[in-house]
Symmetry: C2
Subunit: 348 residues, 2 copies
C-alpha cells in the first residue's frame, strides 16, 4: 500500500519484474486492501499462482513518525509484510512506504544482526563510469565508529557480490585524502581493522569523493552522515546540470534543432543515470532481507527493487555476513588487536 | 612561482584581472625568480608602476610536505609573499602553490584569529541555480565542534558579503534533514548558538545536500571532512555527466550534427560551471587575507583569485569577522548560554 502511488506501482512492479527477469519460482504475498489489490492483479493478468493477497485495512501513513508507527502499526500492511519475513513465510520484504517506519518496525521485529549498529544501514547503488558502485551508509547511522564502518564494509561487499554478481568486490573507505594519516580517528582505526582483521575483503584503502563517480572501487564505505550528504549533494548537482542542459537545448531555434537530432543519443545517456534502473536500497544489518523502494518509483523502479530482494534472498548473503560479523566480534575482543573499551565490553 | 604553470599564469592573471576589472589603484609584488618574471612582465606589457619584483631563487615545491616547508621554507617566494602581508607591505597574498605549505606557513606567520580553528577554513564558491553559494569548510579542519561551525558561519557570511556583494547573506547548516532533532550533537549545538547568539546573521536552519546546488542559502556551513567529501563528490558527478554527454554527442553522425547546431548554447552552459570563473578559495580565520588559486588554474582563473583577494582587502571583512568572533567568545564564556567545558576554559 506504500509509496506515492500504492497498489498500481506495486502490482505493476511485480509484472515488470517478471517481464524483465522471468521471476521463475518467485511468488508474492501482497499485504493490504484486498479490493484495491484485486483490481490491479486482474488488470495485470496475475493469478493466485503468482500473487496472494493478505488482506488488512490498516496502513502506516507516509507522514507517520517512526515511534508512532511502532506503537500503532501492528496489523498494518507494513507490519504484516515484515512479520512474514520473521515467521519465514516470506524470504524478503519490499516496500515503497514510510522509510522511518520501515526501519523502526524492521528493527523491532527482525532485530539487528550487527551489534554495533543502532539502525539498519542503507546502500545506494551509484552509477559510475565503470558501472555501479555501492555506497553505504547513506542513511541513519549518524555517528559511526570504526566497528560500524567495518560492519558496513562486510555487508556492502556481500551485497555487491549477491546483487551485482562481482566475485570479489573491491572496498574503499571514504576520506579526505588517500594518505594513511588523513582523516579522523574512526576512519583511520577502521582502515587498520580492515587491513589486519583477516575478513578476506579486497580492501583498497582510502578513496576520495571524486572516486565515487569514477568507480575506483565497487564498495565505498562511510558513516551515515557523510554518506547521506554526499548522496544528496550528488543528486543536487545532477539536477543542476540537467536543468542547465535543458535550458541550453531550448534556448533558441538552432539549439532546439540540434537537440532534436541528438535526442536518441541523449535518451540513451539519460538511461544510464535513470533512477528506476538503480532503485531499491536494502536495509542491511537486519536478521532478514528488507528492501526499500523510493516512494516515487514507477513500476519499472519497483520491479528493480524486487529484483534486488530476490537476488539477496537467493544468495548466501545472510550466512556470509553472519560469519564475517562473528569474525569481527572475535577480532575486537582480542585485547592485543585493539585496546579494550569498557563501554563495548558491556554491550557485547 | 607556484602552481602547475608558474610565472606565465601568475603574470597572465594580473593582466587578465586588470583587463576585466580595471584594477584601479591595485599594485602587485611578485615574489620569485626575477629573470623568469621579467620575461613575462615584458610580454604582458606590465610596467614597474603596476608590478614590482621581489627576487628570491628559493621555492617551495608542489610536493613538499607542510612540516618540511615550514622548517625549510624561510626566504622562499611563498614565505616572502605571506611575510609581506604580516609586515603590512601587502594587503593580501594570492598563491597557486602547494596548499598544505600555504596553510602551514600562513598559520605560522599570520596566526589564527579564530581560536577554535586548528587550521584555516577553505571556502568553495559553488555554482548554483540562483548564482553562487559559499560552502565552508571544504579543507582541513577534520573534526569541527559547535564553536568552529559557528566561526565558519561568521567568516562565511562576511566573505560572501565582501566578495559577492550580497548585503545580508543567508546561512544554513549542512545536515541530514531539516528537522531540529536531526544530526549529531555538534551540528545541533551550533544551530542553538546561531539561533540564540545574537550575531546578526540571517541563519535559516538546517539544509540538506540537495540544497547546495539549488542555492537555497548563500552560505552553507559544514565541518571540513563532510565539506571536502561533498565538494569532491560533486566534482566527480559533474565530470561523470560531462563524460556521458560528450559520449552521447559524439556517438553517431546525427548526434554530432545536433551537437554542432547546439554548440553555442552548450558553450554558454559550460561557462556557468567553468572552474575559472569561480577559482580562488580564501583561507579564512587568519589575521590577514590569503587566497589560494587552484594549481591548475589558467590566467583567467588566477585573475579571478586576484579579484577575490582585492575585494576582501577593500572590504571591512577582517574587522567585521574580528568583532563577531569576540562576540562568540563572550557568548561561549557565559555559563548560562552553554555549560562550562573545562577543556575550553583552559584554552581560552
Amino acid at each position: 500500500m506504500g509509496g506515492d502511488h500504492g497498489p498500481p506501482v506495486v502490482v505493476g512492479g511485480v509484472r515488470d519484474y517478471r517481464k524483465r527477469d522471468g521471476g521463475e519460482g518467485v511468488r508474492f504475498l501482497l499485504h493490504g486492501d484486498e479490493t484495491a489489490l484485486r483490481v490491479e492483479l486482474t488488470k495485470a493478468g496475475l493469478g493466485d499462482d503468482v500473487c496472494q493477497i493478505r488482506h488488512t485495512d490498516k496502513v502506516v501513513a507516509m507522514t507517520e513518525k517512526p515511534a508512532a508507527a511502532m506503537r500503532r502499526g501492528k496489523g498494518s500492511s507494513l507490519w504484516n509484510a515484515i512479520e512474514a519475513v520473521k515467521t519465514g513465510e516470506a524470504a524478503a520484504v519490499v516496500s515503497a512506504g514510510n522509510t522511518g517506519a520501515l526501519m523502526a518496525i524492521s528493527k523491532l521485529i527482525l532485530r539487528m544482526s550487527a551489534h554495533g549498529l543502532e539502525r539498519p544501514a542503507i546502500v545506494a547503488s551509484w552509477p559510475t563510469l565503470r558501472g555501479v558502485t555501492a555506497v553505504l551508509d547513506v542513511g541513519a547511522n549518524i555517528e559511526s565508529d570504526a566497528e560500524q564502518l567495518v560492519e558496513f564494509a562486510i555487508m556492502g561487499e556481500a551485497f555487491h557480490q549477491a546483487v551485482h554478481g562481482v566475485e570479489r568486490p573491491t572496498i574503499g573507505l571514504l576520506n579526505v585524502g588517500s594518505e594513511d594519516m588523513k582523516g579522523h580517528e574512526e576512519v583511520r582505526e577502521a582502515a587498520r581493522i580492515l587491513r589486519e582483521g583477516g575478513f578476506g575483503l579486497d580492501y583498497r584503502g582510502f578513496v576520495e569523493g571524486t572516486d565515487i563517480a569514477k568507480g575506483t572501487v565497487d564498495v565505498v564505505v562511510t558513516d551515515g552522515f557523510t554518506g547521506n550528504i554526499a548522496l544528496k549533494t550528488a543528486e543536487g548537482v545532477a539536477r543542476f546540470i540537467s536543468a542547465l542542459l535543458k535550458e541550453a537545448l531550448t534556448s533558441g531555434p538552432l539549439a532546439k534543432a540540434g537537440a532534436l537530432l541528438a535526442l536518441p543519443a541523449l535518451r540513451r545517456m539519460q538511461q544510464r543515470i535513470d533512477p528506476s534502473a538503480i532503485n531499491g536500497g536494502p536495509l542491511l544489518g537486519l536478521n532478514g532481507i528488507v528492501v526499500k523502494s523510493h516512494g516515487g518509483a514507477d513500476a519499472r523502479g519497483f520491479g528493480n527493487a524486487i529484483r534486488i530482494a530476490v537476488e539477496l534472498a537467493r544468495s548466501d548473503y545472510l550466512a556470509k555476513v553472519g560469519h564475517s560479523l562473528n569474525r569481527l566480534t572475535a577480532v575486537l575482543e582480542q585485547p592485543s588487536a585493539s585496546p579494550p573499551d569498557p563501554a563495548k565490553e558491556t554491550s557485547q
